[in-house]
Amino acid sequence: MQALYAQLLVGLINGSFYALLSLGLAVIFGMLNIINFAHGALYMMGAFTAYFLLHLTGIGYWWALLIAPIVVGIFGMILERTMLQWLAGLDHLYGLLLTFGIALIVQGVFQNYFGSSGLPYAIPDYPQIGDCSPNAPQDAFCRRGLQGGMNLGFMFLPVYRGWVVIFSLVVCIATWFLIEKTRLGAYLRAATENPTLVRAFGINVPRMITLTYGLGVGLAALAGVLSAPINQVRPLMGADLIIVVFAVVVIGGMGSIMGSIITGFALGVIEGLTKYFYPEASNTVVFVLMVLVLLVKPTGLTGRAA
């Protein structure tokens, strides 16, 4: 029974990555109508940016959480300005093909330079709380950043993983709040419904679209930074994940913000349980669920009919 609780918790941790990534996808699909297949590559770029920041400039994890999403977000905005914006109003397929091509190019370039096995990125050991000096007494309290773990009785929880869950929950809720509850979000949603009308109110719609894409991309990059200390920083880390994340978005309902957050966490848990009861199926369970959900409700769990 204890092991089951542990699996639930671990599932929740993976779910927070799914939630962050699918949230970005949902934002982009909801506002731009683009199925952003480059999302995995941009997630990977976030992790690599964190790696470069640390190993080339000495900027650590905490600043990387802020800088990497901005850097990759700007890259995303350039993509949107130079390529994606010309697809507005065209069939979804064009956006999908273009972003898939971009993903292949980006991943290919990184793989060419950095190989496939990846680069190391350690869990941050700063800030240090308490007495962590080398000659501190044995029983002195010392907390090195997010390193180490806690014994919860039923499992050993690495502090870093706990941090990931809390941090992504906060980011998810903040994003949902921004889009559903603020005036800026209201403009955004209006602009996707009727851009001409919104423009008539003197609002620069193309700029808003660009910023939205930047936001979605920034969320992907943020997830990348969060995952760097857990997984090796590898060129294909996004490619492996993106298909699952797409399944999450489809199950949750394309473009639904809350749907993708909840489904992200829920699927992480279901996957975790599969790893416990029948590990061999853990890579496919998400797709089985997707088929089942689509059979019963083609718009996804929380999606609205088009």
Binding site: Q2, A3, A6, Q7, V10, G11, I13, N14, Q111, N112, Y113, F114, G115, S116, S117, G118, L119, P120, A122, I123, G148, G149, M155, F156, P158, Y160, R161, P229, I230, N231, Q232, R234, L236, M237, D240, L241, G272, K275, Y276, P279, E280, S282, N283
Partner: protein, 405 residues
Amino acid sequence: MKHRISALLLGTALALAAGGAMAQDKTVKIGVLTDNSGLYSDLGGAGSTLAAQMAVEDSGLAAKGWKIDIVSADHQNKPDIGTTIARQWIDVEKVDIFVDVLNSGVALAVNNLVKEKNAVMINTGAATSDLTNTQCSPNTIHWVYDTYMLANSTGQALVKAGGDTWYFLTADYAFGHALERDTAAVVVKSGGKVIGTVRHPLNSSDFSSFLLQAQASKAKIVGMANAGGDTTNTIKQAAEFGIVSGGQKLAGLLLFINDVHSLGLKVAQGLNFTETFYWDLNDGTRAFSKRFSERMKNKAMPSMVQAGVYSGLIHYFKTIDAMGGNPHDGVKVVAKMKEAPTDDPLFGKGTIRADGRKLHPAYLFEVKKPAESKGPWDYYKLVGTTPGDQAFRPLSESACPLVKK
């Protein structure tokens, strides 16, 4: 009429000339079938193609009038794709010899095809010991390492050091199953016990659930019967979950230098595992590795898979050169290769057994602590050496039909 006769004569003459050339045919086509883009591409991939090129250059056959071509392709770790490429290579491109062919699933599939079409395979990448056991073939030589040897060397050493209860984390395909089976046998034979096992899909990124199960089992040793990206992520996440600091020991059953490089010594330090090649073993390995790394894009040192491609091809070239031409007959060439002892700077002196097993020493290494390492790629401490005739499965235990009993 006159024209017809002369045409006939000309045709006959040409056919005879071609026949004469067949006996002295000095063309070879090498196929590097590998993973060029996936989780094993650093172990083989472009590095294997480079090693093949270096072998061609160092063989000196070009100066003797040989024409040697290399083709390379990505099997994407899928047996069906691997066999499709292999079939096309043999039928259309007239490839004589396959090298690398990492991934046990692909290797076993291509092994059958190579036998059916009478080509040659020098397998340097796949681990499954079945290639020289139940699935052995007169057309295949298994060059670098196999699951039996890894289990024998690492497994035995760890049980002797007190690790008598094991839990396996196994990649769910031919290779993982073979490695787990062979290691479990060694553990039991040495007086240990296997408590449990969990099988994960190939190319997983999250191992926390599996590690928690291993942790809950309280086994002294957590054996990783996986490779490449799967192993590096397992090691990294095991550190996070405090597996080692909690008193369990992590056993890398198959680990390559590229994995250690990508993990960094801070995470990898103290791991024990077995390899048959390390760049810093002696002057011969250092000289080759230096030349190799200068030509690699990311200045990487060669893995044992890549070193094996070089070593295997050097022996192959010596053999066909001694035969005076390429007979394009796999069984014949492999039989000749088995007759002569092998000798090259990378693996030293060795032999090839009747079942296709190449014999050379196996080295048990320990990963250095960051403070002990003098620079990039200075990663291993040699802990023990097993001679070639003891490292691999003895012929008396072999189920290979080629072995006369």
